[in-house]
């Protein structure tokens, strides 16, 4: 076990490959990828559609085993589903018979957390994400943005040290998406959670992250890692207007263009 990596990183993906067995051929989804995420860091992962970005998150959460290489989460090698993470998917995946609040509390019930403590924590998160007044609404009564906020609260309820997000705002309209970006940024600053975000939006990846990892198309390898040179406190419009933001997004766009235009 790579303890040297484990002590310094929140997430350490070390020389990981994933191969899927289809009928007769073997498809390599991810090839010898290594990514290190420091505690408290926000890392975005971008890449062409179907390149295996989501697969990376499944590896970190232990929902999927790598064909080779090791994944270490919070100093401990990942061998099966891990419970010390929070996960947000593109679809909110809410239980439609439970109110917003009870959907958030599902996390506590599954874990057998103290219910008073969980209730207090849920209240805080509801307030932090602007869900106040919608606690008792059923999922179908909520907008897409609101549903995704509920999913975010549920993922944060147990105060995980690592939050995995798989295109969480992909299904939202542009304006709601921007609002959610601003809120996620604030939540990240307030909680200090390590975040690994998979996204299709270049602007989103740069605005939110300390580092952006650009993957190539299948089989995915790390094309480049971009350090985002922006202040920690990021006002949305002001950040968009900064030259560093423009150059970073332009560079990533070039990389992705080059990556997708390979053949």
């Amino acid at each position: 076990m790579s303890t040297t990596l484990g002590t310094t990183s929140a997430v350490a993906i070390d020389d990981v490959s994933v191969r899927f067995q289809s009928k007769r051929t073997e498809v390599t989804a991810i090839q010898q990828v290594s990514i290190d995420v420091a505690p408290g860091e926000f890392v975005s992962i971008v890449g062409p559609s179907g390149c295996g970005k989501s697969t990376l998150l499944k590896l970190v959460s232990g929902l999927l085993k790598p064909s080779s290489g090791t994944v270490t989460l919070l100093g401990e090698q990942v061998r099966g589903p891990r419970h010390d993470i929070g996960f947000v998917f593109q679809r909110a995946a809410l239980l439609e018979w439970r109110s917003a609040r009870r959907n958030i509390l599902l996390q506590a019930e599954m874990r057998g957390m103290n219910s008073a403590e969980a209730g207090r924590r849920a209240g805080e998160l509801i307030e932090m994400t602007g869900l106040s007044g919608f606690e008792n609404a059923l999922p179908h009564e909520l907008s897409g943005g609101m549903q995704q906020r509920v999913a975010l609260c549920r993922a944060l309820l147990h105060q995980p040290r690592v939050l995995l997000m798989d295109e969480p705002f992909g299904a939202l309209d542009a304006l709601t998406r921007e609002q959610m970006n601003v809120e996620l940024h604030r939540v990240w600053r307030e909680t200090g959670t390590t975040v690994l975000l998979v996204t299709h939006s270049i602007a989103e990846s740069v605005y939110l992250a300390n580092r952006v990892i650009v993957l190539t198309r299948r089989p995915a390898v790390v094309k480049e890692v971009i350090e985002v040179d922006l202040p920690a406190e990021r006002d949305y419009s002001a950040t968009m207007a900064r030259p560093e933001f423009a150059s970073a997004t332009a560079h990533i766009r070039d990389l992705l263009g080059a990556v997708t235009g390979q053949d």
Binding site: P81, I85, F87, A93, L95, L106, E109, M110, R111, H140
Partner: protein, 273 residues
């Protein structure tokens, strides 16, 4: 408040007038056919005569209705419990699923009326053979619908549950089973109407009580008014049990029923017409 109440009544009227009108039309046609003498009275009794008989022979019919209802409900409950258990076993074990499916299908396609005599030979003329036939009729839709329901759970939801670490039992109780309830209820509604048929089929084969027996007796005596009365009571038992399940569904699944308003009324209309 007052407008609320009138609105509600308007809603009830709006939802019920069509099936009521259709029912009235059917009764009117029935009446006309018998009054004009298009069909001999001994073949088709008039509605008045039939309903008059229902009132006159009420205590006689009531006893037999109770027997049939008892057999139906008992068969339905047994089929419901066994069906759900079977479905859970099939969803959680591929071996059980592949082993049981052919037998299940075989049991379903055997004509129940053809094997009912066997149960009478084995178990006599009591209520047991009728209950068994009702169970056999009702079991299949419960299994199929519950399997579909349990399998239709979002994979992402199950993955999420895995990261929450609640284990298979909590995942089943809090996520999988509730998610399967709409499908389960759909199956139960079909099952309860089939259970009525099963009980009556059981009674046809060998019985000295129940509505199936009433109809056979009336048939033997060429007593068509009693035949019609028996048919009406059997239908009413089925409709009533169906409506009870529909009510239970509404109470248990308000989150689902609330988005389905129109579909319920069409089902109700089918049930009563």
């Amino acid at each position: 408040m007052d407008t609320d109440r009138t609105d509600r009544w308007r809603g009830v009227v709006e939802r019920t007038w069509r099936p009521v009108a259709l029912l009235a039309a059917c009764l009117a046609i029935w009446h006309l056919i018998t009054v004009t003498g298009m069909v001999e009275a001994y073949l088709v009794p008039s509605p008045a005569k039939t309903f008059g008989l229902l009132v006159d022979k009420w205590s006689y019919l009531w006893g037999h209705t109770w027997v049939t209802t008892y057999e139906t409900v008992l068969g339905f409950v047994i089929a419901g419990v066994l069906g759900v258990l079977m479905a859970v076993a099939m969803v959680y074990s591929r071996t059980i699923e592949s082993t049981a499916y052919p037998i299940l299908l075989f049991a379903q396609v055997i004509p129940k009326i053809a094997i009912a005599p066997l149960f009478v030979v084995w178990l006599g003329f009591g209520f047991e053979p009728k209950v068994i036939v009702a169970v056999l009729m009702a079991f299949f839709p419960v299994v199929i619908s519950t399997v579909t329901g349990l399998k239709s759970v979002d994979t992402e939801m199950l993955e999420l549950a895995a990261t929450m670490g609640g284990g298979p039992v909590k995942t089943f109780v809090k996520i999988r089973f509730p998610a399967a309830l709409p499908h389960l209820f759909a199956g139960l509604k079909v099952a309860v109407t089939l259970a009525v048929t099963g009980a009556v089929v059981g009674e046809f084969v060998g019985s000295n009580e129940g509505l199936g027996y009433v109809i056979l007796q009336a048939n033997g005596n060429m007593d068509t008014p009693m035949l019609f009365a028996g048919l009406i009571v059997i239908s009413l038992v089925g409709v009533l049990l169906f409506l009870l399940l529909d009510l239970a569904e509404k109470l248990m699944l308000p989150w689902h029923a609330s988005r389905r308003g129109a579909a319920v009324t069409t089902l109700l209309a089918k049930g009563t017409a």
